[in-house]
């Protein structure tokens, strides 16, 4: 019997070593350790043994059972691991293929630039003021020191609705409305759509966007204007940006300036963006004309202020290197998704 047990153990272990599937393992387990299994059969013959032999064989049979159970468990672990490895091998994918998700949308480049400008001025304590696009001639021109038949009206190719109503040519009428309804100190920016009768081409659009700013307080100086413009320009175009003011004339400011920033493309040495000048004009600005303050019931002997205005399309095109303004209004998804 002892030999029988040894033979069974050896036989079972040999088979185990060759097993490659869990199902076979289950079969083997039943074949040896099941109720009708080989080991059980042998133990059933134990009754024929002598009293001395019985415990010895009994112990031996238990050892064989333990050995087999342990081996089966080990084999199971081996098989599970093998099978998992096989699955993993079969599940190899090309991780270099593009990812899948419904992509979030993109804000329009004009919105991105508008948002950036708003953030900068909100941070400097400005509020954002708004007003109508279809505006009274009075707010758009007359209150801004541009009476009817003033030569300055030539430079603003205006769309008229009626003799007294225009499509605003700048967001300055928002400043007028704000000054007439609020007392200084005033610090606002006025973003919005404006209109000039220019045909659509690569650098013009009859509808475009402006951000204007207005500060009115006691003792506001031209130095404050310069400082504000510098802070703004460094924020938008980088900290090394330099600002240059050129005297100009606007009826609603005095003194007035056109404002250049050092070219963001070349830093001032001359390139395609700045047409070799090293400077790019982005702003008009000046000290609020006393007539404008008076028109809004603000005494220019007590208060002073500055105002500035910029074209958002121009800054957007410069910032992103967009060479044709029409792209901004066509809404080709391949364009919009670049921002």
């Amino acid at each position: 019997m002892k030999q029988q047990l040894e033979a069974i153990q050896k036989q079972a272990l040999d088979k185990l070593a060759q097993i490659s599937e869990i199902r076979e393992l289950e079969d083997l387990k039943v074949a040896y350790l099941g109720k009708k299994g080989k080991l059980t059969q042998i133990l059933k013959g134990m009754g024929a043994l002598s009293a001395e032999e019985r415990p010895v064989i009994g112990q031996m049979a238990n050892e064989v059972r333990n050995t087999l159970e342990e081996s089966i468990a080990n084999t199971r672990t081996r098989l599970v691991r093998e099978e998992r490895n096989k699955r993993l091998k079969n599940e190899v994918i090309d991780v270099t293929l593009p990812g899948k998700i419904r992509p979030i949308g993109k804000k329009h480049p004009l919105t991105l630039v508008l948002d950036e400008i708003k953030e900068i001025f909100l941070g400097m304590g400005y509020e954002i003021a708004e007003g109508p696009e279809i505006e009274l001639d009075y707010n758009n021109f007359e209150a801004l020191n541009i009476p009817k038949n003033h030569p300055a009206r030539d430079t603003q190719d205006t769309f008229y609705i009626s003799e007294n109503v225009v499509l605003r040519t700048h967001t300055s009428p928002v400043q007028i409305r704000h000054m007439q309804n609020n007392k200084p100190p005033i610090r606002i920016i006025c973003p919005g759509r404006v209109y000039r009768s220019d045909a659509v081409d690569a650098t013009h659009s009859p509808v475009f966007h402006q951000v204007e700013g207005l500060v009115v307080d006691k003792g506001v100086t031209m130095g404050d204007l310069v400082g504000t413009l510098q802070a703004f320009a460094k924020s938008v175009f980088g900290k090394d940006t330099r600002v240059r003011l050129r005297p100009h004339h606007f009826p609603f400011t005095e003194p007035s300036a056109e404002v250049d920033v050092s070219c963001w493309g070349c830093g001032g040495t001359g390139c395609r963006i700045c047409k070799g000048e090293g400077w790019v004009e982005i702003l008009g600005a000046g000290m609020v004309h006393p007539n404008v303050l008076r028109e809004c019931n603000i005494d220019p002997d007590i208060y002073s202020g500055f105002a500035f205005g910029m074209g958002v399309e121009r800054i957007t095109m410069g910032k992103f290197g967009i060479d044709d303004m029409r792209l901004l209004f066509e809404n080709d998804i391949r364009f919009l998704r670049q921002f």
Partner: protein, 798 residues
């Protein structure tokens, strides 16, 4: 304003390189737009004289010339048919650089040639500049210029600086005005023009003409001189060239002289044929009722009662400042001339010019208001040039009617106020220097300033500050940041933050932001299939649009969204998802301004887009805006939409009413076709004002449930036309206190469901906050729900 540098140099020395000069002028306020260097491509081209000429032995069209350049005689072979012995011509020497390339010694049919005689084309010059040049062939000099002289000198080739002159500085629309700015900019001295008129004709102008101004509010001054023995002929080359360089076409000596003075002094002049002026009188007045005039251009003009005329004793002979009359025009037969030098009311001239569609170099100067003290000097300069050119003889005296004698305006000189306005610390002495360089009279004892007569733009302190800032240097002003001012807080308004919420929700839903223009064509209402009386057809009309297609302010954003989608579709972009946040403009009866309503427009095609995706986006938006109560109602009437796939939605407003918030759906195939959009195109339009009014940013935490929920499914068969939302409402109403959530998980038509019916499956979830529910609790609720569905909708349980 185009300024030839040599002309400018008559009045100020420019002793810095041109680039430095233009930069300095730009930074002192006279913006330079460009510099044209007429001779920049011409080198080693000199004046030569053809001393002999013979035929080329082997070529009919070529001739062999000997050309004297003063220092040597060169053999030149030419094909030009127009030159002859004795002609002075521009000769490009060997090594000369021309726009067409470098000149090298060559052989032409075996004969050596050491240079080239040049046409104006080869020198990059035009007939505008050299009107005496032949259309074809070599340029031949008038007169006898010095041999060997550089042609740039011989032809007065000059650098021409183009200045942008702002509307407040009409005085700078002149050589002298810009010379004065140059003086102040470069720190040079002004070469004051000395004008001498010999008045060779003698006599007395007062015997020939009297002047009367009837409307002194429109004509401030009218001065005149008379020229006798007029000889009309071309003006000399130097004058023609200066005029051409400044952008004016030379015509004849009299016209050229008046233009020359206008450019030089900034004072427009006009010449009348005095023999045509009846009654020895000039009367400046507004027209009589029904009066007309035929202007120089042959057009008969009707006159408004406020237009200003120049008349003789009987009739109008010119429209003041705008155009002369045909009846008094200068002709070849003209013997006597009346020269006019006047100042008019600028806005009157502007109005008249605009109405007649006539704007000229003269009228743009008058419009801006001229220096009343400049009329006489300009008139004298004109007379001097007429004498200089031998164009006529000047009668003694000036007829001058001055209704508004110049008065000096005195300003208080307050250096500390100027400094505190600019934020600078400029020394008073420096300010005095600047004002003096600008020809202000400065009284340092009384501390007063008197601007020169040509500076009408100086009105108050701010103007004085500008003068100081310009010449101190804008860029020397030290930057400050509103230091010492009350600090202020900047924040967005509720509306502005909600706009951010909307944009963020839209991009979160995968939509890309679009921008479109605000105009509309009157045709869009038909392409949108809108009814003839649709309220959107009532739009704000632009009176001077860029064209009919841009003549309205849009009342709907749909056409622009469809156009954008169509652009994408036509460019083969397989799908597009767009949104736009912008305004529409609705006229208000009896109001001048419009109701500008903020609008959110969404457009989708391709990919996964369908009605339910669009609706999902809208629901997501409402959720993001904190709008909890809303309702989608089927919409069949809007003709630009698919009648079976469109809904309007309503939101609970602040005052508790359900208000129309917008429309969404599939575009009607006919409209889609009109816009070349794909068949399945989805759009939504929402009224942002209404949504913002219904929105909230308030949020409230609700406890997470502690007790388990019981879920039940319920499938019923109902009429296929029935809107499921109605059943949902009923379930929510009748579901009892424990009903927590109802979802639709299946809507099915087909096998096992009778024709005309559909099966709808709901999943209901019940929960109590304070206990674990028992089946019985739920059974009662389910019973009630089913009964109600049976009764209200004839629903049968499946």
């Amino acid at each position: 304003m185009k300024v030839p540098v040599k002309w400018l140099s008559d009045y100020v020395k420019i002793n810095v390189p041109i680039r430095e000069y233009t930069e300095a002028m730009t930074l002192s306020g006279s913006k330079v737009e460009g510099v044209e260097d007429m001779g920049k491509d011409i080198e080693k081209v000199v004046v030569g004289k053809i001393v002999s000429m013979e035929k080329h032995p082997d070529a009919d069209k070529l001739r062999i010339c000997k050309v004297d350049t003063g220092s040597e005689v060169l053999q030149i072979v030419t094909g030009a048919p127009n030159v002859k012995e004795g002609d002075y011509i521009p000769l490009a020497l060997v090594g000369a650089k021309l726009p067409g390339g470098e000149i090298k010694p060559t052989k032409l049919r075996g004969v050596e040639s050491y240079g080239m005689m040049c046409s104006i084309d080869e020198l990059s010059l035009t007939k505008d500049y050299l009107p005496d040049a032949p259309d074809y062939g070599v340029y031949v000099f008038n007169g006898t210029p010095e041999l060997g002289m550089d042609v740039k000198e011989a032809l007065d080739l000059d650098k021409v600086v183009e200045f942008e002159i702002t509307s407040n500085r009409p005085d700078c629309l002149s050589i002298i005005g810009l010379a004065r700015e140059t003086v102040a900019t470069l720190g040079e001295t002004f070469k004051i023009p000395e004008v001498k008129v010999k008045e060779e004709a003698g006599g007395d102008i007062n015997d020939l003409i009297t002047i009367e101004i009837k409307n002194p509010e429109l004509c401030y001054r009218y001065a005149a001189r008379v020229v006798e023995d007029v000889k009309i002929e071309p003006s000399p080359a130097w004058m023609q060239r200066r005029l051409a360089a400044a952008g004016m076409r030379p015509i004849n000596n009299i016209v050229d002289i008046t233009n020359y003075v206008m450019l030089e002094y900034g004072q427009p002049m006009h010449a009348f044929d005095l023999d045509q002026v009846q009654g020895k009188k000039i009367i400046v007045r507004t027209p009589y009722e029904g009066e007309t005039i035929r202007t120089l251009d042959g057009q008969d003009r009707n006159l408004d009662s406020d237009m200003l005329l120049i008349c003789d004793a009987n009739r109008p002979i010119g429209v003041a400042g705008v155009m002369g009359g045909e009846n008094s025009e200068i002709t070849d037969k003209t013997k006597t001339i009346l020269l006019e030098s006047a100042t008019f009311n600028g806005s009157s001239i502007r109005k008249t010019g605009k109405k007649m569609g006539l704007r000229s170099e003269a009228s743009i100067r008058f419009e801006k208001g001229l220096d009343i003290e400049n009329a006489i000097p300009a008139l004298n300069r004109c007379a001097e040039l007429i004498e200089l050119l031998g164009a006529g003889k000047i009668v003694k005296g000036i007829a001058d009617c001055n209704c508004k004698p110049y008065e000096k305006r005195i300003f208080i000189f307050e250096p500390e106020r100027i400094n505190s306005f600019l934020g600078t610390e400029i020394e008073t002495a420096e300010m005095v220097r600047i004002f003096k360089s600008l020809e202000f009279e400065v009284d340092e004892k009384k501390m007063t300033l008197i601007p020169p007569s040509f500076r009408n733009d100086i009105v108050e302190l701010a103007d004085l500050c500008e003068e100081i800032a310009r010449f101190y240097g804008y860029n020397k002003i030290k930057p400050s940041l509103l230091s010492g001012k009350e600090s202020m807080q900047g924040r967005k308004t509720y509306k502005q933050s909600m706009e951010d919420v909307i944009r963020n929700a839209m991009i979160g839903c995968g939509l890309n932001e679009a921008y479109t223009l605000s105009f509309a064509s009157p045709k869009v209402f038909d392409t949108l299939n809108l009814a003839k009386d649709h309220y959107l057809r009532n739009a704000v009309v632009i009176s001077n649009p860029l064209g009919e297609d841009f003549s309205l302010m849009r009342t709907t954003t749909l056409p622009d969204m469809l156009k954008s989608l169509s652009t994408n579709y036509n460019r083969n972009n397989p799908e597009a998802a767009l949104f736009e946040l912008s305004y529409v403009y609705i006229p208000i009866e009896g109001e001048e301004l419009a109701d500008e309503r903020e609008t959110l427009t969404i457009g989708l095609y391709g990919g996964t887009s369908d009605f339910y995706e669009l609706k999902g986006i809208m629901e997501e938006l409402l959720e993001a805006m904190g709008i909890k109560e809303y309702e989608f109602r089927p919409e069949k009437e809007e003709t630009c939409f698919h009648p079976g796939r469109t809904a309007k939605f309503f939101v609970r407003s602040k005052n508790k009413e359900m208000v129309y918030g917008g429309i969404l759906g599939e575009v009607h195939p006919e409209v889609a076709e009109n816009y070349e959009c794909p068949d399945r195109t989805y759009v939504a339009v929402a009224d942002v004002g209404v949504l913002i009014d219904a929105s909230t940013t308030e949020k409230q935490y609700r406890q997470l449930p502690k007790f388990p929920a019981i879920t039940r499914d319920l499938a019923v068969v109902v009429d296929a036309e029935l809107y499921v939302s109605q059943m949902l409402d009923t379930i929510k109403q009748k579901g009892g206190e424990y009903l927590e959530e109802v979802n639709i998980f299946d809507v099915y038509k087909g096998a096992q469901v009778p024709d005309g019916m559909k099966s709808v499956a709901f999943s209901l979830s019940f929960r109590a906050l304070d206990k674990t529910l028992k089946d019985e609790d739920v059974n009662i609720a389910m019973e009630k729900i089913l009964k109600r569905l049976e009764k209200e909708f004839g629903a049968q349980r499946r």
